[in-house]
Structure formats: structure tokens, C-alpha cells
Amino acid sequence: MGFKKLLTKKMEFSASHRYWNEGWSEEKNISVFGKSAGPHGHGHNYNLEVTVEGEVDAETGMIINLYELKSVMSEVLLDFDHKHLNEDNPHFKDIVPTTENIARVLWDLLEEKLVDNPKCSLYRVRLYETQDLYVDYWRK
């Protein structure tokens, strides 16, 4: 029987995006994406919640040092905060920066940075686009 220990840290970032699929006609883009297809994009204050799981280290009493997690998250978010995701972030050259896709990209980037830490692993990424909408992403 496992006793789960999770730690979650939240961080806010602001970004703009446009929902647009180059492979589709303008009509189709507008009919699928509605207002989100506006040519100049639109912005959100995103809230990212990163949850890690691991053992509590006997010496430090921590699963992961919150300063370490904070710096990992801050580094990853450099390419997201105050950016136009379609234009400024290379990960969204070919995929639409929906909340689902942003969460998946964030998972990959966070996991890459946390993989060197043998004591904890990424458990869940929760990304709020607005207060009323969030996406959960995890991989087994």
C-alpha cells in the first residue's frame, strides 16, 4: 500500500493566443473557433498548478525544495509569460495553442527539467485559462 505525498505550486502568467488552423478555410476556422479566431489574438491570465509526487526526504523534510520548483517553473514560463504564443513560442508553430496543448507542452518542458531530480516526479499539470476553465494533464 502506497501513501501518496503530493506538493503543488501555483504560478500565474499572461499570454495571448489565436485559435487558427492553417490547413482550414477561413469559414471553417471561424465556425469552429468563433471569437478565438480573431486575427490579432486575445489574452488570458493563466494559472499554472504543478503537482509533484515523491518521498519526504528525512533530512530536509521536503519532497522538493519549493525554491527549486519555483525556479524550474519560472524558467519554463519565460517563453510563455507576456508572449503571443502563436508568434513568439516555437512550440506552437504547428499546433493550435489551446489550453489542452499548452498544458501538454508545459508537461514536457517541466518533466525535462525535473528528470534530473531522482527524489520526485511530475504528477499532474493543471492549467487554468480562466477561473471557470481548466485542463488537467498527466502521463503515466
Binding site: 500500500m1 502506497g2 501513501f3 501518496k4 505525498k5 503530493l6 506538493l7 503543488t8 505550486k9 501555483k10 504560478m11 503537482t51 519526504v56 533530512e59 530536509t60 523534510g61 521536503m62 519532497i63 525544495n65 519549493l66 525554491y67 504528477y123 499532474r124 488537467d136 498527466w138
Partner: protein, 120 residues
């Protein structure tokens, strides 16, 4: 650990005079709804279990005034585990999840994997 090591690992948290937070505890109980009372658990009974634990920790310098934390760092992880162990015997399998918020931006959770009905 040396002062240097402590400061390197714990940073501003190693300030010699300590620092405070407004902690918030959230517990999840799971169980059948009692047909007579219509409740899973009496909130009054839950208060009676939680309040003494909160009373013990509230407005205290944890690493000095709570003997358990003389040997354990009073990190969010360890405080969550401490509270879990205090209330678990009274709530038994009804207690399925505990969440301790340290700030509005960081929190800690613990639960037993085989007694938790949700995937994540």
C-alpha cells in the same frame, strides 16, 4: 548541517527567528450516507476531532513549541503528515485525503492510494 548548507537548501525559511503562514487544512471524508441522519459524518464530531489538533498548532512556533518538530523539519509535507496521523485513528477509513495549504500558491496533499476513489 552547517549554516551555509541550511541557508542554501532552506533559503529565507532558515531565518533564525522563524516565519509564519496562514495555514489552511482541508480534509475529505468518504463513506455511506447514514439513512437516519442523512450524513456521511457529523460535522460537529469532525470539528471535535480537528479542533484540538488545530488548537495545538495555532499561533505556535512549531519548531520550538511542538515537541514532534524538534526532530522533524516543520515543512508543509511534515505538518500534513503530523495532522494526518493525529486525526486518522478517529476517522479511520472515512478519512481519504488531507490538503494543507501554506499560501494561496502552494499546498501539500496526502492520502492512501488504496483508499482513494479518484484517479488524480
Amino acid at each position: 548541517m552547517s549554516d551555509e548548507e541550511n541557508f542554501e537548501i532552506f533559503d529565507t525559511c532558515s531565518n533564525p527567528n522563524g516565519h509564519g503562514h496562514d495555514y489552511a487544512i482541508q480534509v475529505k471524508l468518504n463513506g455511506e450516507i447514514d439513512p437516519e441522519s442523512g450524513m456521511i459524518y457529523s460535522l460537529q464530531d469532525l470539528d471535535n476531532i480537528m479542533n484540538p489538533v488545530i488548537e495545538e498548532l495555532d499561533h505556535k512556533r512549531l519548531d520550538i513549541e511542538i515537541s514532534y518538530f524538534e526532530n522533524e523539519q516543520p515543512t508543509g509535507e511534515n505538518i500534513a503528515k503530523y495532522i494526518w496521523n493525529k486525526i486518522k485513528p478517529s476517522l479511520n477509513s472515512k478519512l481519504i485525503h488531507l490538503k494543507l495549504s501554506e499560501t494561496s500558491r502552494s499546498y501539500f496533499e496526502c492520502y492512501e492510494e488504496d483508499n482513494y476513489p479518484y484517479e488524480r
